[in-house]
Structures are given as structure tokens and as C-alpha cells.
Amino acid sequence: MTEVSLPLFLVFAAVGVFGAVMMVTRTQPVHSALYLVLTLFSVAAIYVLLHAEFLAVVQILVYAGGIMVLFLFVIFLVRPPVPGEARWHGGRHVLLSAGLAVILACALGWHFLESAPAAAGNPSALLEGGNMEQVSMTLFRYYILPFETVSILLLVSMIGAIALARKGEGV
């Protein structure tokens, strides 16, 4: 596993970056959404390489499955972009934003990479007894209050989304 993990990672990372760049630059939102699915799948593959199998499955089910279907439904509901319409803010704005993004990424990178561990530790601690079992044991042993809070957050956002999107009086 360890000797093939770097080439595999490089392939998936290249696919992920390609999908991200294509997503940001496409005209049609549908194309953007499909390229985002590509990126999400490659990130899920990288999760598998990093011994986070449960998270990889959740990524595919929730992100590539649920969230992207939501995006696609909304894209179908709203008007498609008019061909002549400007997709970007003005030219200077694009340059400034690109500069800002690069500076931000470099600053974060400088900070992170300095403190990054040089190599992975022994992954057996993550694999013992199965990844899913470990995640759920930790979740219910140490994070039970955040877990319940998140479920309430999801309920509230569900009600909020229904209340906002409902056809009716007021809004």
C-alpha cells in the first residue's frame, strides 16, 4: 500500500485540481456541477488513501449524492445564463482576486508546511477494529453533545429551507 500510495495520490490530486479549475471557469452551471462531482470523487479517493474509509463513503453519499443533486435541481429551476451575459466581474477584479487567492494560499501554506509532520505515523491506530467502528466509538464517547447539536442544526436548516422556498405569502 505505502509504495503505490504516492503515485495514486498524484493521479487523484491532478484529477481533483483539474475538476476544480474547470468548475470555476465553465459558463454553464450544469457543467460546473459535474466537474465539482469529479473533484469530490477524487477527494473521496484520497480519503481512502489516508485510511478514512468511512469518511470517503460519507463524502460520496452526502456530497456527490445529496448536495450535488440539490445543486442540480436548483440549476434546473432557475433560468439558464444568457449567452452574452458577463460571467465574471471586471478584468481588474479577476486579477486582484487571483492575486488575493494566491497570497492567501501561500500564507496558509507557509504556516502549515512549517509545522507539518514529516511523515505519517503508524496507521495501525486508525485501522484497529475497523475505521467505521472507531469513528462511531469516538463520536458517541467524546462528541455526543456536538453530535446532538448538529442534528438540531440540520433540523433547523431543513425547516428554514422549506419555509424559505415555499411558494406563499410574504417572502
Partner: protein, 100 residues
Amino acid sequence: MLTPTHVMIFSLVLFGVGVFGVLTRRNIIIVLMSLELILNAANLNFVAFSWAHPSIHGQVFALFVICVAAGEVAVGLAILITLFRNRNSVNIDEFHLMKG
């Protein structure tokens, strides 16, 4: 040999592309998708650190981030549908009602 540094560089690139998309695109749907990209970059870092210092807590935290992202998308898209119904547009430049 795969090291955490590799994963972090990848997540930085994803983050940069996401920030660029949020700042430059006019279509709100694509801005929201770029936000998802940024959240994914953060998640990658959580998982990379959880793998480097073998500890499962980073993965649990990434799970919480996914939950919050799902809630954010649901509310964001509902707001977008309401906006589209009222203004018949998804162009971010046309929403400046609260400009002073």
C-alpha cells in the same frame, strides 16, 4: 512515500481555486459550489492530520464539517430560489438592495 505535506499542498490549491471562484464569479450557484470546494480543502487537512498523528478525532471533526456544509447548502439554495422568484436573476451584481 506519501507525506502530509503532499496532501496539504493539494488542499491549498483547492482552497485557492475556491477563493478565486467565490471572488470572481457572478452566478450565485457557482459561488456556492466554490464555497463547497473551500470546505472540502479544510476537510482534507483534518483528515491528513488525523492520518499523520494517528488519531481518529480529525475524521470525526471532518464529519461535523460535512454536516454543517449540508445545512449551509440547503439554506443557501433556498435563499437563492426565493431571490430568483423575486428578482428573476441569479447574478450577484443585481442584488444590492442593502447598499447604503
